[in-house]
Symmetry: C2
């Protein structure tokens, strides 16, 4: 049975890395002594070792060991043996390119569907959708495909931002970008605000955290989804 936390962000304003998720993570990784961390999204270009050290430090406070996938001889073997998985944020184009480069995308999907506990934050959540096409990131590398894990039946827009009515900037709002996406695609998009996450257990996909999420369905008005409800009810 699938068992995931799909979080908009790793860090909420005024608090440390993953702090707000610790109570959930203790439950997600119940009886998992070591989690395999995938640092491929390299936020701000951070190298794999430094990024893994950050995750290690955070997880040490809940008594769970972290090992970076790059610390194993073979990344496929690393995943096959993993008892828990964590894919951190950064650049989604880079994350997806690297997962394809090492032939890990299909394997990751299989493992998640088998029930290996998975935490994704930001880019690591984006790839839980059917495609990465609602990422906010810059296309710093060219991935062989935009298709991602599809372990939830819609796309994710992490770090979702409401339009700022006072803005004088002419760049597209997030809502406009998602409308443009729906000009060419039919997949629903969930705008997940910072501080929100999805608790996925089997087929159930519960919105958690203090905030609503904004669901975009092609040719319909965006819909605010209340916390504590199953997203499936609105699809």
């Amino acid at each position: 049975m699938k068992n995931l936390i799909v979080a908009s962000t790793s860090t909420v304003h005024g608090s440390g890395y993953l702090d707000y998720l610790f109570p959930e993570l203790s439950k997600l990784y119940d009886n998992v002594p070591e989690v395999v961390f995938i640092p491929y999204a390299q936020p701000s270009g951070m190298n794999y070792d430094d990024y893994t050290a950050l995750a290690k430090k955070a997880f040490s406070s809940i008594g769970i060991a972290i090992k970076g996938i790059h610390e194993f001889k073979n990344p496929q073997e690393a995943l096959k043996e993993a008892k828990g998985l964590f894919v951190g944020g950064g650049n989604t184009f880079l994350l997806v390119s690297t997962l394809y480069k090492f032939n890990l995308m299909a394997l990751l999907k299989t493992l998640i569907e088998k029930g290996v506990p998975y935490l994704g934050t930001s880019a690591g959540s984006n790839i839980c959708g059917l495609t990465m096409q609602t990422t906010n990131d810059m296309p710093i590398v060219y991935p062989p495909s935009f298709t991602t894990l599809g372990v939830v039946p819609f796309n994710i827009n992490p770090h979702y931002l409401d339009p700022d009515p006072d803005s004088t900037h002419k760049g597209e709002t997030r809502e406009t970008r998602i409308a443009e996406y729906h000009g060419f695609n039919t997949t629903a998009v969930l705008g997940l605000r910072e501080g929100s996450w999805l608790a996925v257990k089997g087929r159930s996909i519960i919105l958690k955290g203090p905030l609503q999420a904004c669901l975009f369905i092609k040719d319909k008005k965006p819909k605010e989804i209340p916390a504590q409800t199953d997203i499936n009810r609105y699809l």
Copy 2:
């Protein structure tokens, strides 16, 4: 001799579509009775006819006719006969995909290099760089390549936004995104603020408008370029 206006945005706050550029456009399209408009970037999903009507209306105030590329039987022939070109803003992934679909990318480059006057705004400016990899847009479609016109020897980041020191949002700043780009690419990136444009004539690339632009060179501190100077001096 190349002759382009490469503008960050079509519209500045509090003013109409292209208004602030009209004096420049009269000079750019001197003696050009009709400009071929490429509406492929479809801002907010706007269809080709509506987008072309918007450009027609704006250009009528400076006595220049506009014809949409889609109004010709053959888009390649349309470009070959064009005495002036305008590529409007919208979604860069869509624009680049469509240019490749109709085999127009190489042709467009050739025509610009031959001296056909060109106006780009936003996505239409982004494609003047070597690649589209510093776009701010959402990857709503999968282009066959990120390579673009390369009619300036760097990449463009249109609608450049300075980091907001008061922001509590954890999404990457524009500066962080460009730093991530430089983790994997060596091409310089020019952050062009709204209200700025480049006047390209042959090899000269003068920054115009009231603002500075921010130049990002790999492994160097970002540099503010004063208006009225040639970007080549800083490359």
